[in-house]
Symmetry: D3
Subunit: 145 residues, 6 copies
């Protein structure tokens, strides 16, 4: 039976993955503590190098504990940044995925709304600052406190 179309290419099924792809699929399930491989990663697996590059980047930044690292940002803060960026870009897959992740971390719909309201606000002020070509008045300090 044909799986419904979920992308412009045929994603790699979990049970057909082999070698490096199968290892990364296992790492994704383990690291994210889920029992399936999300569409995103099954699609990226059609180019194993791409899968590896993106998973390495995401694992390091979003699952720092899995690489023995401590992030200066809380998990919910990281997902809020992800949601704000995805809303700015209008990416449907990403908005759904990061809203779900935020909810899993306990965020109410009101908190999701606060993130989006702030993302919306700064898309407005960005347009204004660029639309008037306003020069910076505040240069950030170069040195840490």
């Amino acid at each position: 039976m044909e799986e419904p179309r979920i992308a412009t290419v045929r994603p790699v099924a979990e049970n057909e993955a082999t070698g490096r792809v199968a290892e990364i699929f296992a790492d994704i399930r383990r690291t994210k503590n889920i029992d399936f491989v999300p569409n995103m990663w099954r699609v990226l697996a059609t180019n194993p190098t791409e899968l590896e590059v993106v998973w390495n980047a995401l694992k390091t930044l979003m699952h720092p504990e899995a690489v023995g690292r401590t992030s200066p940002l809380e998990p919910a803060t990281r997902e809020m940044i992800a949601l704000a960026v995805s809303a700015t870009n209008g990416c449907a897959y990403c908005v759904n995925s990061h809203t779900a992740a935020l909810r899993k971390l306990g965020a109410s719909s009101s908190m999701v709304g606060e993130v989006l309201a702030i993302a919306g606000l700064f898309n407005m002020t960005n347009t204004l600052a660029d639309g008037y070509q306003i020069s910076p008045d505040v240069l950030p300090p170069l040195e840490d406190p």
Copy 2:
């Protein structure tokens, strides 16, 4: 003596502001606890309605205590979202302004980098999810916990 050009229109000088504009300028200095009005607001003042609309939105969302409100987000989290959006849009004025604000709240350059790394990561994954037209696999729950 002519002030150097800082925008495509001539900004309103603090000492020439009158009426509603002067009141908002005072509110900006008071609410932000600074002794000058940043370029952004002096430029928006060339259209007082625009100044009022944008200041009301920004004051409510970014200075909730000034309107008797409690935000579910920390001030630093709000500035991180602002920086992530501004980096995504490539807005020079905004990047400088929000980096400075984050620094004032105690963020090290390493923490600024963590915000930008995550913003960069999701600009990458947004491109991939949209570039493959990947269907959502996770719909967020509609109800709060």
Copy 3:
């Protein structure tokens, strides 16, 4: 019976709105002269502050007569700007909503096309000007005529 999913959060139904949200819902129906509250506002109502901020901004700029203001721009011109921005950002909800609003104001499909053709043209020239990093040759005059 369950309403079909229309967003990542459960929108506020018109008949369950209370307090400030109910007042804004009534204001939206009155100001826009419609007999229902569009999805956008029902979704924003999940965070009443967000609803208030966005409605205040939109009411002031797009329904100036409702706040005792005269806009220098015609209603159709305002909707054309809205459509051009929404097309540039690729926002499906917004494109549908602003095309419908333009049509209600009497625009033919040919006029909609003229707006989009011009928006498309300048997305092309923006890419070229940025892609070559071209310096401005014309600085706008700072003073009004």
Copy 4:
């Protein structure tokens, strides 16, 4: 004497243009009623096909009278759309150029601000509509009135 760098490639000087490029340069000066060729066109002339494609599109849409056409939009409306798009994209060359064009058509700084305020507003609502993945409630009519 070396001209200062104004782009990533060396623009074609007006007096070194020949053939089709010289003809288009003349057409630009005549159609726009100016006595110099703006940087944009001198840069595009480094690839004459690109110059021709972009000039044809811009001449047809922004100078309809020069091609014996009547546009359904006023010149100022067309420039407002151009400014709104350029502000959304943050294109410095384009913002300066279209603000100057609007000013030449008589727009006050307050009117420029009204255009930018509306462009900013819809960049905010676009982020919200996409950030919540809101379904359209209003489909525009397919037929003209």
Copy 5:
């Protein structure tokens, strides 16, 4: 029988096209060597000037042989650029169309992935370079080798 809705306006059917629109429809079928007119062009035909402007630009740049021109870029390279831009903008119609075109030119799903991986990578680095406001260290040479 009503055709299903495919756009915000009613597209022009192939058999109802007349005059200049019919000529361009024929040119599209001939130049692209296909036996139908894609939705895009049928929609643009609701404003014949828009149809002509966009088709002229696309024919010249993407079908150079049809205008007696030699492009410095291979057809597959041109489609890769188209896909990278469409992925960056998140345009569904365009991603589908350019992926199909690339496939028709023989690209494997792995090659599509390589294009998207590189587009994703530079969306990430663009965010970082803009998010830190990094000054250029390498100015391209102005003269050709």
Copy 6:
């Protein structure tokens, strides 16, 4: 003597790099065959994890030979995609850097123009396809030839 400001944070000087950062700096010079570390990498080094994540991704995709990989794309094609994305985003650092890289690979200014013309064209058609909400007519084949 103070180095001029090149970013919102103080970049790491080549001679002050230690440990993993020094190793990556050496790898950058070796892999890119240059005798200095570009600003981008010196800035990212303020957060070594970020430096490592971005360098790994870029090295793998843009310098495949350095990781024992064969890319399906030519070096010039990869740089063209980078330039098209950077032009679309309007990133000054990136446009300069990728134009310089293309030139180093032998591209004439006319070829740079061809890339930008195509990137501009598809930013135009993306706006049109999204601005009309056009449905795909061509779904790419899922299987490789």
